[in-house]
């Protein structure tokens, strides 16, 4: 009897633990992300120095009270550059995801809803985008159309769209034979309204984690492209650009690597924690009738 109670209480703890884990993960992620956003907001109104101002007398200075995060090889204040870089990183990831979502929805919802040869064609297209390494495609696009920030955003948006298209297509196929969708078809509701108002809200639990992970991956891609010199153009700062500039000074001036990398990690880890939290909290099984 006592044994049984003990067993039951551990199972209860397990259930509680998973839901708590989700919540904790979400809160931790939100705090990390919140910090990055706070830095971004402050940077809009105030940076300690002009982030692009060079100062020949202050080259590669270690962190001090004057320059909290030190200075780089051109004498620019690293703290100010980190603050202004957050702007580009956040803009590129969010704008890129927005483009990817719109394209993905357009492809995924329609392909899943209409099916047949149209579905096959769309999936062929999205699979052919997916079978190239994403960074390569984005690099080619930027190399062809020129390396402005908007081009980077569009290129990343196109590269990321198939992953959303797949999530949405699968969900749409699963739902479009449900009776409430048949009912809408009988009422002759406009197909696009069925897709967006009737089907899409039911796919959000699958879509939200995909979007958050997409944001994190998008940031990494943007950093990688800037690192390779095809992203944000100098003198503007982004985390990837700062890391690439710092690589010659890793041993002598480690603060040039540590601080931008720390912010990048904070942003991406925050996004992953949030997506994990959302996934755990939304995917706990059905309720008992």
């Amino acid at each position: 009897m006592a044994d049984r109670k003990a067993k039951l209480s551990t199972s209860k703890v397990n259930v509680k633990l998973t839901s708590d884990l989700g919540r904790i993960s979400f809160v931790v992620g939100a705090c990390m992300l919140g910090f990055v956003f706070l830095v971004f907001l402050i940077s809009v109104f105030y940076t300690p120095y002009n982030p692009n101002m060079t100062d020949a007398s202050n080259i590669l200075k270690a962190p001090s009270f004057e320059h909290l995060f030190g200075t780089d090889h051109l004498g620019r204040d690293v703290l100010s550059r980190i603050m202004s870089a957050s702007k580009y990183t956040i803009f590129v990831s969010f704008a890129g995801i927005a483009i990817a979502l719109v394209l993905g929805m357009l492809m995924g919802l329609t392909a899943g809803y209409w099916g047949g040869i149209y579905d096959k064609a769309i999936m062929l297209l999205s699979n052919s985008i997916m079978c190239f390494p994403g960074i390569l495609l984005a690099l080619v696009a930027v190399a062809v159309f020129g390396s402005s920030m908007l081009n980077v955003v569009f290129a990343l948006g196109i590269v990321f769209s198939p992953s959303f298209a797949r999530v949405l297509r699968t969900g749409t196929i699963a739902i479009s034979n449900r009776e409430y969708i048949l009912h809408a078809k009988i009422l002759k509701v406009n197909p696009f309204r069925i897709m967006v108002v009737h089907i899409l809200p039911n796919l959000l639990t699958a879509l939200i984690p995909a979007v958050v992970i997409g944001l994190a991956n998008m940031t990494l891609f943007e950093s990688a492209m800037s690192f390779l010199g095809l992203g944000v153009q100098p003198p503007a700062a982004s985390y990837g650009k700062m890391l690439s500039d710092a690589q010659s000074y890793v041993t002598t001036s480690p603060w040039l690597i540590v601080f931008p990398a720390f912010m990048l990690i904070l942003y991406i880890l925050g996004l992953y924690f949030i997506s994990e939290g959302v996934r755990i909290c939304t995917s706990r099984g059905g309720t008992i009738e």
């Binding site: 044994d3 067993k7 096959k120 009776e179 048949l182 809408a184 009422l187 509701v189 008992i288």
Partner: protein, 535 residues
């Protein structure tokens, strides 16, 4: 009946068993409340009650298949005199796998779609230590013959999707019986099957119970099935047993008012009368004229056959106010017919004349008839938006409240979401969605088959009041002959995609001319004429 008098007479004894689930609103919600139950060895024991009364949880407690959140509050379950709850989990699992078999309601999802039948059944034997391949095969063949397959060789290599619902249920029974369990728990094994198949499954279970000495715990909300099949029956309400005894006694002279009301509802006595639905006038212009219509699903992209017709050469007329019943076994094309009439499928041949009629549709499954992401208010506004009916705010408000009252739901339910409603309430919201457009024709595709008796009775009386008030014609598709026989004025019998017989209800039911109709009526007669059943 008592094969082993040395052991205890009862195979299962449940003593003061209580079970709770954590709930968001009330802390711990009791599901079973001081349940006492004993099942005699070799008997067939039925449990009846409305949905949510704890029938399935009782079965799951015996089989130790309770969900993780369940918390046992007290009492004990004895199997062959041994306490199941004080046993350690490992030895309990060993005991249960061998001695207790379970058959579930949904034969579609209980078989692995990627496993051939031989592999699926072999798995059961392998996991219980049978190693010799030939022995496994011969055992499976033998069992397939027992459950009524005439050509077990052919069945062995099939995949589940190549079998019908009834065949799959037979496979599941074979799987459960392979280990020769002493107790077989059947949780609504027939509620997804049509009458003809139900009878054949029940006959199979009974013969197995006798020949192999298997005790059965049979859970159902269908009183007819329990009445013709079980030796003993227990009535459950709110997690406790309120009446039990020999089936014929309980169902013939119930001692509690609750059992009586269950019986009344299952016979639909209180809602059915002669003028329950309006009598049509056959001289009026028909609402719907279908002539030589064929329909089906689109063929594959490169296949030669452009359309795979499911229904062929259908002709019939429907008149205003008429209730037309469509009956037939599963897979005969009833649902395809409904889908074609309401415009989801286009006819491939023949014509369908709908004289400018608004059609409403009520589907079978209350679980998926409403969109889980939106509240009831949205569901009722959507038809108005789709038909571009513009109303002022006040008019809309009045219309919504009137419609909700019409279907016996409180207006406050407008802000609820589908998961906050019961099956019967959802079905009524689905009817309200039709009703808000004032349709002249409602197509009801098996609206009762997944509801318990009292919800079905409520939905039926609701349809009747709509029929009276708005002169709405109803095309009632059902395999429940009992309901069709009480409400329809004309009936059509379908078999393998065509209408094999149609006419006035009394004529068809009194002297069926087609084999399909004869089979259906014979099954219905067996379900009702058993001495155990209520006369």
């Amino acid at each position: 009946m008592n094969k082993s008098s040395s052991k205890s007479v009862n195979i299962i004894e449940i003593k003061d068993f209580s079970l709770c689930f954590p709930s968001k609103t009330e802390g711990m919600k009791p599901v079973l409340n001081k349940l006492n139950l004993s099942i005699k060895r070799g008997s067939i024991f039925g449990v009846i009650g409305n949905s949510g009364c704890g029938k399935t949880m009782t079965a799951m407690s015996i089989a130790s298949l309770l969900p993780k959140e369940a918390s046992i509050q007290g009492g004990d379950i004895l199997f062959n005199g041994q306490s199941l709850l004080s046993m350690d989990p490992h030895s309990r699992r060993l005991l249960l796998g061998d001695k207790i078999g379970v058959i579930f309601q949904e034969p579609m999802s209980a078989l692995d779609p990627l496993m051939r039948i031989e592999a699926a059944l072999g798995e059961v034997l392998i996991s219980h230590g049978v190693k010799d391949k030939n022995e496994i095969r011969s055992k499976i063949m033998e069992m397939l013959k027992v459950v009524g397959f005439k050509n077990p060789d052919a069945i062995l290599n099939r995949y589940p999707h190549q079998l019908s619902g009834g065949q799959r249920q037979r496979i599941l029974i074979a799987g459960a019986a392979l280990l020769k369990p002493s107790l077989l728990i059947c949780d609504e094994p027939t509620s997804a099957l049509d009458t003809v198949t139900t009878i054949s499954i029940l006959e199979l279970l009974r013969s197995m119970s006798i020949s192999m000495g298997i005790t059965m715990l049979f859970i159902s909300h269908d009183l007819n099935v329990v009445g013709c099949f079980c030796d003993y029956v227990a009535v459950m309400k709110d997690g406790a047993i309120i009446e039990k005894g020999i089936t014929s006694r309980v169902l013939r002279s119930p001692q509690t008012p609750y059992t009586l009301s269950l019986l009344r509802k299952s016979r639909l006595d209180n809602v059915l009368s002669n003028d329950f639905f309006l009598k049509p006038n056959y001289s009026e212009t028909p609402l719907l004229e279908v002539s030589n219509m064929s329909s089906g699903y689109d063929g594959r992209l490169f296949s030669r056959q452009k359309h795979a017709n499911v229904i062929h050469d259908i002709s019939f007329k429907m008149y205003p106010k008429e209730v037309l019943g469509v009956i037939g076994g599963s897979g005969c094309g009833k649902t395809t017919l409904a889908k074609t009439i309401c415009g989801l499928l286009t006819p491939t041949a023949g014509t369908m004349l709908l004289n400018d009629v608004i059609i409403g549709v009520v589907f079978q499954d209350p679980a998926s008839c409403l969109n889980p992401s939106h509240n009831i208010l949205w569901h009722l506004l959507e038809p108005l938006k789709a038909k571009k009916i513009k109303l002022s705010k006040l008019e809309t408000r009045e219309l919504l409240i009137a419609t909700m009252k019409e279907v016996n739901l409180k207006p406050s339910y407008l802000l609820r979401y589908p998961h906050q409603l019961s099956g019967g309430q959802r079905q009524r919201v689905a009817i309200a969605m039709c009703l808000i457009l004032k349709p002249k024709l409602i197509i009801a595709d098996e609206p009762f088959s997944s509801l318990d008796a009292s919800s079905a009775a409520n939905v039926l009386s609701l349809l009747s009041s709509i029929n009276h008030k708005y002169n709405t014609a109803i095309l009632l598709i059902s395999h429940n002959l009992h309901i069709v026989s009480k409400v329809a004025s004309r009936v059509m019998v379908m078999d393998s995609g065509t209408i094999v017989e149609s006419g006035q209800l009394s004529e068809v039911f009194a002297s069926p001319s087609s084999q399909a109709a004869k089979d259906l009526l014979e099954a219905e007669r067996k379900l009702n004429s058993n001495p155990n059943a209520l006369s």
